[in-house]
């Protein structure tokens, strides 16, 4: 039974096969023809879509809702809704006001979309909860802190560590409350989703964040639920400090070499999940690409303490057959291995792009390479920091975003040799990979070339 497989894996026991979890957030809506906004706001549509995910993708575990903006919305952030993406945060209540919010702002079981979510959780639990492990996803304390404070938080990390610590600890209290609601509604696993963790140094993580994360994971464990630490982006250097916060499992995306990461998580006896590439393989690849990737994952690593999953929230438009192929590869690995034995992996996108003549630009050019600033929180903050510069310098500089969800931009990203997303290049030179620059750092670099 799928659920037992997940629970065994999270208890670090040996299992007969590797379990699999599709992170079908907004993508669940696609299966029933609903938009992202519909599936994230309408309980009946969400419920219907989740049952379809369960039917088509035969998962061992699945999330109920994948939206890191639920808490932020309740706490005063304005959201911009999209048809095929989760909403993004448009305003930050603590922008320009360095405060810790009142505790009366902490979401209750009656706030915002929480009653709808709890209702769906209970219904799904009753319907498939015996066979499928259910994941309740909460916004991690650092990402929530940046939703509230905006990109100024990266400056705070340099100028006022205590404030960041206090704000993140406040957000960790929000995490504890969300854990209460979700565990009481039947969730087996609480995933603390904090994409922004990949954007700060391990030193900063340890001095300002780890205490809060550790408290949240201890809290989840005391509630008799399992925990998972989801991160996106290149969190390679953070793997060790993340393990020290003691979650039951960690989930990573394609920016991290899962084989190397697993060597670290194995040392701590923590389960690792990941990392099927979301766009190149799941969105733009074909069934064989997906099968091959999964078979390689299974064959290249010790299967103990391993979960197969997409790198993060699945893009809305992922072809259904690709996800089915992943499920197939997990469940019938031997047969699928035979099928893709001689298959050459999906090659580069065949689009010619021309790179600018970086030596002879009329104005400094700031290029932000992202997964898509609309969907990836780390990318949003990376892009925003560049937009602050655009505001400040006006037409003295040019700022552009290239998204990994657009085929031409994928080709450009590859041609530029970009290794990590998000990254900022100035005049064709890599300046920041994964780490979001503070306003001061960015301006200094721009001033050098202006």
């Amino acid at each position: 039974m799928g659920k037992e497989l997940i629970l065994k894996t999270l208890r670090h026991e040996k299992t007969e096969r590797v379990p699999w979890i599709p992170f079908a957030g907004v993508h669940a809506g696609k299966l029933k023809g609903y938009t992202a906004e519909e599936v994230l706001k309408d309980g009946d549509k969400l419920y219907e879509s989740l049952l379809e995910v369960n039917k088509l993708y035969t998962p061992d575990g699945m999330p109920i809702i994948f939206d890191l903006q639920i808490e932020a919305e309740i706490m005063g952030c304005q959201l911009l809704w999209a048809k095929d993406n989760p909403p993004s945060v448009m305003s930050h209540p603590l922008q320009g006001e360095k405060k810790i919010p009142c505790k009366c702002k902490i979401p209750t079981a009656q706030s915002g979309r929480i009653p709808m979510i709890l209702d769906v959780m209970k219904r799904i639990k009753a319907q498939i909860g015996n066979e499928t492990a259910l994941y309740g996803l909460i916004c991690g304390p650092f990402t929530l802190a940046s939703h509230l404070r905006g990109s100024e938080i990266f400056m705070d990390m340099i100028m006022d560590e205590q404030y960041v610590k206090d704000l993140v600890s406040y957000c960790a209290e929000v995490c504890c409350k969300m854990t209460d609601y979700y565990v009481d509604a039947g969730m087996d696993v609480i995933a603390v989703v904090d994409p922004l963790v990949s954007q700060v140094s391990p030193d900063h993580f340890e001095s300002m964040l780890s205490e809060s994360f550790t408290a949240v994971f201890d809290y989840i464990r005391n509630k008799r639920a399992f925990s998972s630490f989801f991160v996106c982006g290149n969190a390679t250097v953070q793997m060790d400090v993340m393990c020290k916060t003691n979650p039951d499992s960690i989930s990573i995306d394609e920016n991290v070499d899962i084989k190397k990461a697993k060597e670290i998580t194995d040392k701590y006896n923590i389960t690792i999940g990941g990392n099927i590439p979301l766009t190149t393989t799941m969105l733009y690849g074909n069934q064989q690409d997906n099968m091959k990737y999964v078979v390689d994952l299974i064959d290249n690593m010790d299967n103990h303490n391993l979960i197969i999953a997409p790198g993060c929230d699945m893009p809305y438009d992922i072809p259904i057959e690709n996800t089915i192929a992943v499920a197939q590869a997990v469940r019938q690995t031997n047969e699928v291995r035979e099928m893709v034995k001689n298959y050459e992996a999906f090659d580069d996108i065949d689009i010619e792009v021309e790179l600018p003549d970086y030596e002879n630009l009329s104005n400094p050019l700031v290029e932000v390479f992202t997964l898509d600033a609309k969907t990836c929180a780390a990318c949003t903050y990376m892009l925003n920091s560049a937009l602050v510069a655009a505001d400040h310098y006006g037409d003295k500089i040019e700022v552009v975003e290239y998204k990994y969800t657009v085929k031409e931009d994928i080709a450009r990203t590859k041609k530029m040799g970009v290794k990590n997303l998000p990254s900022i290049y100035i005049n064709g030179k890599l300046k920041w990979a994964s780490i979001i620059p503070s306003r001061k750092e960015l301006f200094e670099e721009i001033d050098k070339v202006i």
Binding site: K99, I100, K103, C104, D166, E173, T214, D218, N222
Partner: protein, 306 residues
Amino acid sequence: MNLILITGFLGSGKTTFLSNLLKEFSNKKIGVIMNEFGEKGIDGTLIKNDNFDMIELNNGSIFCACIKDNFIQAIAEFTKHDIHYLFIESTGLADPSNMENILDITKKLSTKEINYLGSICIIDSLYFLKQYKLLPALSRQIQYSNAVIINKIDLQNEDKINKIVIEIKKLNCNTYIYKTSFCCAKVKDIISNLHYSNTGFSETTNTRETRPKSIIITVNEKIKKEEFVKFLENICLDTYRIKGFVNTTEGIFEVSVVGNQINLTPWNNQIKSTEIVIISSVGIKIISRVTKEWNKYFNSKLSIKS
């Protein structure tokens, strides 16, 4: 209706003082407003059995804008009943600077005349000199008091007590000062000497974010007393206060911890399960500290509520 405010830091002896008051005034009609930090008022359990009316206000300080409205309404509610004395026990970190302003609004809402006799601040002579410089609310409690009771003098030397008196006088030269142990002061005298003089009004420093982090732990199984004490010894320095009831193999005890002073007193009533409120002095880290220390001593499952 006579109104008396009781302030004092966590563990200073407010509840004991209130119990003494209730005994002394048992022939009068009494109302109590109890303001607790945790979500469950453990203080409430201690005195609920006696014959008086009580309203509990949880989730923050009564002086904080967050629940100030409820506080005003609670006072107004008591004026509808036949009450001689209304005692208000505030939270340990209450900053009563805006009491004057609260009274003004309350008087407008109330059907009966309210006679504010003043505020009595209880201080713990053992820890006061260490605490009051760190926690501005404690100075405010003295500044806005009309009487100060220096408690637990049996645990402190005379020299230190004199120092405390000097510090109190610096903050408020008009307040009456009493010295006592176990809050055994002559409460009737204290009350009759109370004369409220308008100490002015300023904004309270109490906000929801200045509330210390508190958690409630519950355990269903009986646990060993000796190990429970070890557990308390290991976490007490990360807390301002620990309070509640524990069900041990040796019987039920009332738990009271202030600093490293751990007191377990036999409790004769029944309790559903072990339930302890822990007020952290290390923020959210207390969750991890408690979990770690608990796992050292016990196999029984611990449940923590944030």
